[in-house]
Amino acid sequence: MNEIEKKSVCTCGEIDDNKKKLLEVIVSVNGDKSQLMKVLNAAQEIYGYIPTSAQKTISEELDIPMAEIYGVITFYTRFSLEPKGKYNIGVCLGTACYVKGSQMVLDKVKEILGIDVGGITPDGKFSLVSTRCVGACGLAPVMTVNDEVYGNMDPSKVKDILDKYV
């Protein structure tokens, strides 16, 4: 086992794959603390959020205080401390979409799923965020489900799209 693998061994004895991936990214920055954003982005990608264990690993390996890491995580919208749903729904509230009624689309999603922005359904399937402009303004109003982009939305289209993921 190499150094990274040794550090990735979980209490159960197996290698924690996510931790291994994270450590690989951390090692790649060679102790450069200014690369914290890269490491946090990687953690967000790997885990889908940034769990306490990941924060500890980053803090120990890069010698950055936990409070500072927490301060950076909570500053940037893309970093989340809570796991997202299996399907993360984003409704764009950027100007072009807003002017074309994306707020109503958002309200419809809230109504159907029974959750608010930032929330997650009890079964962990859907989470909802309002997004900033994703640059698909030609298709306004825009709704995203994970990486899938749905353009030209209106409230009546919401249910059918969500049903695809049930």
Binding site: S34, L36, T77, A96, V99, K100, R132
Partner: protein, 620 residues
């Protein structure tokens, strides 16, 4: 590592393969199918279209047909876009199901599929790009390669004069000469502030330090703006080459591109371009055999609009919260990691190579006296031709809205155009003939901004628009200084009361007082410009504010709390579509008789308005 001779060889070879994309006189048998791979068209499944074409080409074993995924063509409203070269046929609003037909008829038999051709706003069929009104008044300098080359193929970039500007600079120009060329061109920063680019380069050059950096601001955060994204997705090398030229001019050897993480395609394309440039020795040590060394690194943002601010960007690159720094010291003296740093916007850089190749006098012949060159705008909102346009400075707003933009859809009227996003101002109808240049726009209380240009029709409430922008600002404020952190929140609170029918006498005066103080006391540009949407809507639409406060009415009919949704009995045919779609069952009536809305149940969501085939329902 390629020498200059080797690069020229590649250029020649590739040009011979792809010149048909530009050459009107091409008579060969090659056909290139260009499919738009910008984020908009990709979201509309242009990837599937490309795959299907490739399948068919393979099936039929055609060696003279290629599919190329290019950058953004700009006409996003008509995407996905397919352009067949050399004949320049323009298929719009394509679908993967259309591919077989296009393949069989056009590719195999040379027969144009009329029904899939792009239609202009008036419904007239357009056979080629040049015929489209959308493009007639555009002048594509920054976007010249978008829609033309495969952005993930450095050879194609090279073919159309790629890296020739860098070669010219490294082999025949001094740093001073480069800066003079940029200064004489009149290029001004395209990120919004319009600071003379040559001057900025000179400041960075003047700083004495062994270590200097160039940086590129690709944190494009204005909602509705996607100019920089399109450049990075469609022509990333243009930015890399320009950064290398800038590094040479100021004495730097390292560059950073700060890209927002919400642009995964742009990040990917840029990384591919960097890797390819390194492979060819166009990044690294001894570039083109000279002793110039330069390399570039991508640093990701993570969802903070304020990181588009120069010093906040630097804080983020350094791994911290994106809280702006006070100036002095200015970044040209102490920027990234305490070193002199030149930061320019993506679009600013994208102008550089052509300025070097074609000369400052060529560039300064375009545009107006004080605003030279072109500007890329992301045209959006209530406009027919939503998309990306590049126009010469000095063109009027009217020309953009009507000639290029195709006018306002759904028979509505133009009300205002917003430039500069949350930092900008609105331009009302009476100023439609304002030329688009830095000074003219500031003179009317607006600004050039980074390029987001949102058109609003008469159904837009300007008070709610101001509220929308303040809401954005409050969410994105970094929180470091009280005028912005608390002041914008207080402004938002007042605006929220206004749109909810709870406006009070004195609210306008309060807004104006807050606005003035936030503008002059805030630490950074975000705070200093946050009040602009309020100030400019107050300037041109004060009557709407007064109506909200004094009469508790929203003249545009948008603010739900003060409007009612009503069915016009004259127009209503009793078809019951509205009732069937009402989420709260608030609409009742007998078939073929006018229906009625129970106001006590109505939640004013507007679904009925959208569903009514007779336009009989509206907000009053």
């Amino acid at each position: 590592m390629k020498s200059i001779e080797e690069l020229n060889e590649i250029r020649e070879k590739t040009l011979s393969e792809i010149s048909l994309r530009k050459d009107r006189n091409y008579t060969g048998r090659e056909k290139h199918i260009l499919v738009c791979g910008g984020t908009g068209c990709t979201s509309s499944h242009s990837k599937d279209i490309i795959e299907k074409f490739n399948e068919l080409i393979k099936e039929h074993n055609l060696d003279n047909v290629r599919v190329i995924r290019t950058g953004c063509f700009g006409l996003c409203a008509r995407g996905p876009i397919i352009v067949i070269r050399p004949e320049d046929t323009f298929y719009a609003m394509s679908h993967v199901d259309d591919v077989e037909e296009i393949f069989e008829k056009h590719i195999m038999n040379g027969e144009i599929v009329e029904r899939l051709l792009c239609k202009d706003v008036d419904g007239s069929v357009v056979k080629s790009l040049d015929e489209l009104n959308f493009y007639k008044k555009q002048h594509r300098i920054v976007l010249k390669n978008c829609g033309l080359i495969d952005p993930e193929n450095i050879d194609e970039y090279l073919a159309f004069d790629g890296y020739k500007a860098l070669e010219k600079v490294l082999t025949s120009m001094t740093a001073e000469e480069v800066i003079k060329e940029v200064s004489d061109s009149g290029l001004r920063g395209r990120g919004g502030a319009g600071f003379p680019t040559g001057k900025k380069w000179q400041f960075a050059k003047d700083s004495q330090d062994e270590q200097k950096y160039v940086a590129c601001n690709a944190d494009e955060g204005d909602p509705g703006a996607f100019m920089d994204r399109s450049v990075l997705e469609g022509d990333p090398h243009s930015v890399i080459e320009a950064m290398a030229i800038a590094a040479f001019a100021i004495g730097a050897n390292k560059g950073y591109v700060y890209v927002r993480a919400e642009y995964p395609i742009a990040v990917h394309r840029l990384q591919v371009a960097i890797d390819q440039a390194r492979e060819y020795g166009l990044l690294g040590k001894n570039i083109m055999g000279t002793n110039f060394e330069f390399d570039v690194e991508i640093r990701l943002g993570a969802g903070a609009f304020v990181c588009g601010e120069e010093t906040a960007l630097m804080e983020s690159v350094e791994g911290r919260r994106g809280e702006p720094r006070t100036r002095p010291p200015f970044p040209a003296v102490k920027g990234l990691f305490g070193k002199p740093t030149l930061l320019n916007n993506v679009e600013t850089y994208a102008n550089i190579t052509q300025i070097i190749l074609n000369g400052a006098s060529w560039y300064s012949s375009i545009g107006t006296e004080k605003s030279k060159g072109t500007k890329v705008f992301a045209l959006g909102g209530n406009i027919n031709n939503v998309g990306l346009v590049e126009v010469p400075m000095g063109i009027t707003l009217r020309e953009i809205v009507y000639d290029i933009g195709g006018g306002i859809p759904n028979g509505r009227k133009f009300k205002a155009a917003q430039t500069g996003g949350p930092s900008g101002g609105c331009i009302p109808e009476e100023y439609l003939d304002t030329p688009i240049d830095y000074e003219s726009l500031s003179a009317i209380g607006s600004m050039m901004g980074s390029g987001g240009l949102i058109i609003m029709d008469d159904s837009t409430c300007m008070v709610n628009l101001a509220r929308f922008f303040l809401d954005f600002t409050v969410d994105e404020s970094c929180g470091k200084c009280p005028p912005c952190r608390i002041g914008t929140k207080r402004m938002l609170e007042i605006l929220e009361r206004l749109v909810n029918g709870k406006g009070r006498e004195g609210d306008i005066e309060k807004l104006e007082k807050l606005a003035m103080n936030i503008k002059r006391s805030s630490l950074c540009g975000l705070g200093q410009t946050a009040p602009n949407p309020v100030l400019s809507t107050l300037k041109y639409f004060r009557n709407e504010y007064e109506a909200h406060i004094k009469e508790k009415k929203c003249p545009a009919g948008e603010c739900k709390a003060m409007t009612k949704v009503m069915i016009d009995k004259e127009k209503c045919k009793g078809c019951s579509l509205c009732s069937k779609n009402c989420p709260v069952q608030a609409i009742h009536g007998e078939l073929k008789s006018p229906f009625e809305i129970d106001q006590s149940k109505c939640i004013k969501c507007g679904v009925c308005i959208a569903k009514c085939p007779f336009k009989a329902i509206s907000r009053v």
